[in-house]
Every structure is written in structure tokens, then in C-alpha cells.
């Protein structure tokens, strides 16, 4: 098992390098460059500003040379500095990460708490009124344009009813609040974004768990269990559920990169200072170092997430265990 993990980790390295090269080249293929975004057509900015800027960041050199410069730094785990404000890319990412993690983990938690029981119950009561209503609801949630839903919720809960703040992670005056009120403010700010993110994420997990549960319930060992005269609750929760949840593990692994990279749409609408907005702003400003930083970290996490779910699978499911007695 350890050998397997070790091998997989080693394999990730060339993959990561390859993807970073593609990312770098594609980024530079886009017409335009960072200096024109920043200094273009401003009468007060001198012409030398663009030259200085390009020289400072070696943007006047061939792309492949720039890539090797980037690679050299990257191998020392240095992601360079942002073109926008000269702060280190890694500190920008670390600054934005907690906001995204807070939002994504809260909503993931909510998704699982709601979606799993929903899916399992739908599967058990397959074809019932409940199942059918849920199917429609869940697909509606999946099909609704997310930005529209977000604005609608903002309108009703933030503006009309005034229950929660409309945007932001925190109020600007939190400094002057007591400890408990500060905490309450964060929770209030969290409500709308978490609910919106969770609602649109609900569909996938609940559908997966439903169909997986239906599959499992059709297995012969469930028939055996029932034939043995076990109680239905025991059949469902002990014999079926564990097996039905296996594919969900894969999905869990695949949500890992999303947890870190965040969502550009939600973060923009809710003025949430997270990774999604960081990446988007970097792309719009041709902020190459930040684009690369965010890109490489997301790539790494995707690869890592896949590995993690493979390992989790092996741990849970003896049939696909590697290296042990089986193979």
C-alpha cells in the first residue's frame, strides 16, 4: 500500500510539470499583456512605465525563458510576486484561502447533511410522491442559473426581509464589536452564501446517493438479508448504506480542489474575499504569477484529491485493495 502511494505521488510530478507548462503557454498565448492592461491609454502614465514594468518582470524575454525562470523559482517553492501589488503570491493565496475554506466546508457539510438522507430516503421510497417531488426540486436547483438564484435570495432575505447582510465576509466595524457579536456577524454573513452554494450543490450528491442506493438495494445480498428476516431498518442502514456510500467517497475526493479554488460567481456576488475572486482578478489583469500559483495549487489538489479518494476506496472496499493478498 505504501509503495503504491509512493508510486502515485512520484507520478504526480511529471503530470504537474506538464500541466504547468500548458497553463503557462496558454496564458501567454492570449492576446494582450500585463503592462497594457495596467498602463494602456493613461495620459498621465509615461511611456517608460510599460518598458520598466516589462523589464522588471522579464516580460520582454521569450516565453520559454520566462517559463524556466518561473520553474526555477517554483522548485524552491517560490511562486513569485503579484504584478498587481508586488505582494508574494503565496501570501495572497494564504490570505484568501480561509474565506473560501469557511464557505466551501460549511456548504459541503450542509450538502451532505441534507443530500445523503434525501437521496437514501428517495431510494427507499422510490417512486413515491416524496421521491417525485424531490426529483423535481433537485433538478430545479441544479438547473437554476446560480447568479440569478443568488440575486433573488439577496433581494428577499438581505433586502426585503433584512434578515442577513447582503454581502461581505465581515462588517467593517467588527473591530468595535464585542467577541460574541463579532462571531454572530460572521454567522449572519455566512448564511446567504452558504445556503446558495449548498442549494446548487445539492443535486449532484442527492442524485448520486439515490441511484447508488437503488443499485445496492437490488443486489442479491440485500435479498439474502431480507430473506434472513432482518428488520428493514437494519437492512438499509447496516447492509445497504455502507456499500451505497462507496461512490460518494469518489465524489468527496473530487470536491477537494473545489474547496480550495472556490467559486468565482458566488464570491463575486457576495463580495466574498476568497480564492475564486483572486483567480478571476488575476486572469483579468494578466497577473501571470498569481494565475500560475492558483493554477498549480488547484492542479496539485485535483491530483491529490483523486489519489486520496483512491486510497479511501481501497481502505473501505476490500475488493479493490492493492498490494495485499488480492494482487
Amino acid at each position: 500500500m505504501l509503495k503504491y502511494i509512493y508510486k502515485r505521488l512520484l507520478l504526480m510530478l511529471p503530470m504537474l510539470l506538464g500541466i504547468s507548462l500548458i497553463l503557462f503557454v496558454v496564458m501567454h498565448l492570449a492576446p494582450g499583456d500585463p503592462s497594457s492592461v495596467r498602463f494602456g491609454l493613461n495620459p498621465e502614465i509615461s511611456g517608460t512605465a510599460r518598458e520598466n514594468f516589462n523589464k522588471m518582470y522579464a516580460l520582454d524575454r521569450p516565453v520559454i525563458y520566462q517559463y524556466f525562470l518561473w520553474m526555477k523559482r517554483f522548485l524552491m517553492l517560490d511562486f513569485g510576486k503579484s504584478f498587481i501589488d508586488d505582494s508574494p503570491v503565496i501570501s495572497k493565496i494564504l490570505w484568501r484561502l480561509p474565506a473560501t475554506l469557511l464557505l466551501e466546508i460549511s456548504s459541503l457539510f450542509l450538502i451532505f447533511v441534507i443530500a445523503l438522507p434525501l437521496g437514501v430516503y428517495s431510494a427507499v421510497k422510490r417512486g413515491s410522491m416524496f421521491d417525485r417531488i424531490m426529483t423535481v426540486m433537485v433538478f430545479a436547483g441544479y438547473a437554476v442559473p446560480t447568479f440569478w438564484l443568488a440575486l433573488l435570495l439577496i433581494y428577499f432575505f438581505g433586502f426585503k426581509l433584512g434578515w442577513c447582510p447582503i454581502s461581505g465576509l465581515d462588517t467593517w466595524y467588527s473591530e468595535y464589536l464585542g467577541g460574541f457579536d463579532r462571531f454572530r456577524e460572521v454567522l449572519r454573513h455566512l448564511a446567504l452564501p452558504v445556503f446558495t452554494t449548498a442549494f446548487t450543490g445539492l443535486a449532484a450528491i442527492s442524485r448520486y446517493s439515490r441511484s447508488s442506493m437503488i443499485d445496492t438495494l437490488n443486489q442479491t445480498y440485500i435479498l439474502t438479508a431480507r430473506a434472513k428476516g432482518l428488520k428493514e431498518t437494519r437492512v438499509i442502514f447496516v447492509h445497504a448504506l455502507g456499500n451505497a456510500l462507496l461512490p460518494i467517497v469518489t465524489i468527496m475526493g473530487l470536491t477537494l480542489p473545489g474547496l480550495i479554488s472556490g467559486s468565482f460567481i458566488f464570491e463575486t456576488i457576495f463580495a466574498w474575499p476568497g480564492m475564486g475572486r483572486l483567480g478571476y482578478e488575476a486572469i483579468m489583469n494578466y497577473d501571470y504569477p498569481v494565475v500560475m500559483g492558483v493554477g498549480v495549487i488547484s492542479t496539485f489538489l485535483t491530483l491529490f484529491g483523486i489519489l486520496l479518494s483512491d486510497i479511501a476506496y481501497a481502505v473501505i472496499d476490500p475488493r479493490i485493495r492493492v498490494g495485499g493478498g488480492g494482487k
Binding site: S36, P43, E44, L151, G158, Y176, G178
Partner: protein, 522 residues
Amino acid sequence: MLSPCIGAFTSAGGESPRDAYVTASISDARILIPFFADDTASAGICRLVFSGLTKIDKDLNVVGDLAERWDISADGLEISFFLRKNVNWHDGVPFTADDVKFTFDTILDPSTACPYVGEFTDIDDITVIDRNRVKFRYKKPSAPALNKLGMGIIPKHLFESVANIRDSAYARDPVGTGPYKFERWVTGEYIVLEADTGHYIHSPRIKRYVYRVIPDQSVGYYELLAGGIDSMDLNPYQYFIRSETPEFRSKIDKYRYLAPSYTYMGYNLLDPILSDIRVRKALGYAVDRKEIIDSVLLGLGEICSGHFIRDSPYYDPGVDGLYGYDPAKAALLLKEAGWSDTDGDGILEKNGAKLVLKIVTNQGNQVREDVATVVQRHWKKLGIKADIQVVAWSAFIDQFIDKKNFQVALLAWGLTVDPDCYTVWHSASAKNGGLNFVSYSNPEVDALIEAGRAEFDKEKRIGIYRDIHRRIAEDAPYTFLFFSYATPAINKRFHGIKPAPAGIAYNLIDWYVPEREVKYNF
């Protein structure tokens, strides 16, 4: 909104600053050093935290700020500034002439790589005469200098030991002499400034200035209505239609003032079709600017005919009527230039080539895209086919403007208070990626621009720039379209806002909230 358990405190005296003004915009600041701030957000915060030798008053005159007054030598080469004596930096250290010299020496130092350095390269040297006097010596007389010296001054005592100003901690924690002191900056969320009660003019009457980052404008609108923010800029649709509700009107005041920027179509004078002045004039006559203003801006604009702030004396309103909408004249000029529809397909031809022009503009500006569509229709009536291409900003600059690879560019210029227009209209600016990308060259205009730079007498300058205005309009390198109105909306509890040619922000320190309307009591 606020829970009662906030540890509220009130300062003694009825007139101490109170409440907070919360404004919002779509992007965060980047760096809070005045001469590095090359984006709107950073520059806006810098103007509150820092102050310069001069500033602009409500009628767009250059007046003293840190400088009480100044003398200009007879040859126009030396400007001696007499500085205010009661000025302290926000950390309590007195402000002196050394800070002024230090700031401009730093800007001029090539290793600083200041983006605004071109504004100051005419400076020969700066001498500190005493604590409160500093003399600027110029290589040649420079009237625009007074406006340019409004650049924020940075404190020498903090920066002289700093090797790299860009990277220093003060770039995110600035100390200035402006009306507001820096308090806090939470990246991507908000910046909080606090009134400097010891400010040399007088303390701002609003205690805090808060800048929030709200990337989505429709969310910003709800925030404004719900009270999460106190001001934002409305677009014409929000200004006229969405805000016309009793609820909005009971909470929020709408203002408008003519913004110092104009939209135009620039013609590439190196293009074989557009190098013919008759064609360019015809294109101008064919455009109904009134209709553009009414349909695209819902009336929130004024006709533009030249490169100067409309409310300033340098703008000659007499030119407005000269090249107005006149399709008959346009048709005549095109005929004179040899364009006629010989094959009857509705598009003019000359020597077998059709009169097809491409209008390029940048993505992300709906107004410009709409203007292009209206112009396309106006031109079509005269047999001119226009194709519209909308390109992302960076690619637009890179592929079209820098390479002069365009026919018609639909863009806008922001104008400075000083009328000097060397960077846009002098023939020297047509080279090496300069801003005269239409390649306009008129020796008489060149001479006038140079004369305007060297002339300190305001009346004489008015004559010079009105002359420039008229001559450029005659040469028709652009079709000048319109100035648009800025339309800010501000919560009703703020009083003392008086729109003027300079906008509304010029008297921010005089805005106030009556005691009983105070919202943020901490």
C-alpha cells in the same frame, strides 16, 4: 442593524467628527503610495490620506494645499513654494520642505520606476531654502507643473531608510498629511480611514471614511438601499428608472455633475480611406450626437467638440455647433471625395472598393458598444458600412492601438484640470506607442501646444487652448461625441454636499451628519 451592546463612546463637544461614510466600488486598492497608485481605487484612497502642494478647488482652479502660496520667476523657470507652517504628519512629526524635496527626488530617481515620472521630468532640480520654503527649478517654463505638483507628498522621516518603497510596510499602512488617517485595510473587503482631527484646514466632520469592495454592481445597488453602503455611482438606467421609487427617494439623494471625460471616435489618419479629410468630416456630420446621448445615456450627457473639460474656460462652446448633425453635408462631402453607389447595393464605392469601415472598441463597456451600434446605423443611411469589433482591453491596446492597426477606435479620454494636451495631440506623441495613436500632426497645433505649456498667464492660455480646440475640430481626426454625467447616489443623512464643476468630493471635509441622524456611533 447595530446591536446596542457596542461599546459606544462619544467625544466631548458637539462638533467632534461623528458617524461614518461607507462607499463602495468594484475593485480593491493595490498600493497606498501616491506616486505608485496607478489605479482608480488606490489613487482615490491616496487623495484622502495624502496631500500635495496644490489642489483643485470647486471651480477647477489650481489652489494651494500644503503650499500657502508660490512665486514664479519672471522667466517662468523657477517656482518657489511657501509651505503651511501648522502641518503635522499623521504620526505627529512636523511636515517640512525636506519632505517635498524627498518626494520628488524619489519620483525622479530611475530606480524608483514611478509610472508618473514623465509628469516631472521637466524638473531640473529642487532646493530646500528653509523649513517652509522649497524652490523648483525647471528646464523650461511649464505651466501644467502647478497642477502636477498636486501629487501626494510622502514623509521623509519614514521612507529615507527604506530601500524599496514598493515593498515597504508603509505601502499598506500609509502615513500622510491628508484629512483622513489610515486605520485598517482588510484585503478584498474594506479600507477604514479615520478623521485627522488635527488637520491643517479643519477636522473632517465625518469621523470615518470606509471603502468597501463590492464586485457586483447590482448587489451594490441592494446594499445602498438596505443601508449597507451610503453611496455608489448609478448607471443611467438605475438613475432614471430603478431609483424612481418612493422607498429610494425617502432614503437616498441623487446627484449629477459633468464628469471630466469624453467619448470619441478616433480615425487612423494613416488609413487610405480616412486620410481624406472630406471623408472624416462626412463621418462626423453623419453622426447624430444628440440621439446618441438621448438613447444610450438616457440624456445623461452633453455634446463634446474638443479635448477640454466642458465647464472650464479652455473649452470653446462656439465650436459645438460647427460640426453638428448634417447628413446632407455629409453626403455632399462623400460625393466630392469620389464616393458613390455605382452598383446600387446601398454601399458607396470608389475605384471598385467599397466604403466599409471597422469600428473597434473595448469589451466591458456597454455604453461604448451601444454607441458603436447607433453610429453604425447613422452611417448606413449614407451608404457607409460599419463593422463593429469588441475586443478585451489588453488585446485591444496590444493588437490595435499600439500597432496602429485600426480604422476607427471608439474610446474615451479622462481629462486633467490643466488643459495641456501634449501627450494626446502633439505630433511627437504619435511615435513609439504614444497616445496620439491616430497620428495627428499639425505644425500649427504643435506650436500652440508648446506655447500653452510655457505660458503662465491664464487669459493668454485660454486664448491658446480655444484656438487648439477649433483647429483640431477643423482637421477632424476624431469625431468628438459626448461628455457623460457622473451620477452618484448618497444616503440622505449626509448634508453639505454641493455639486460643482469639480464634482462632489472637493468639500468632503465639510460634509456632516446631524446628531439625531447618526448611524454608526463608535
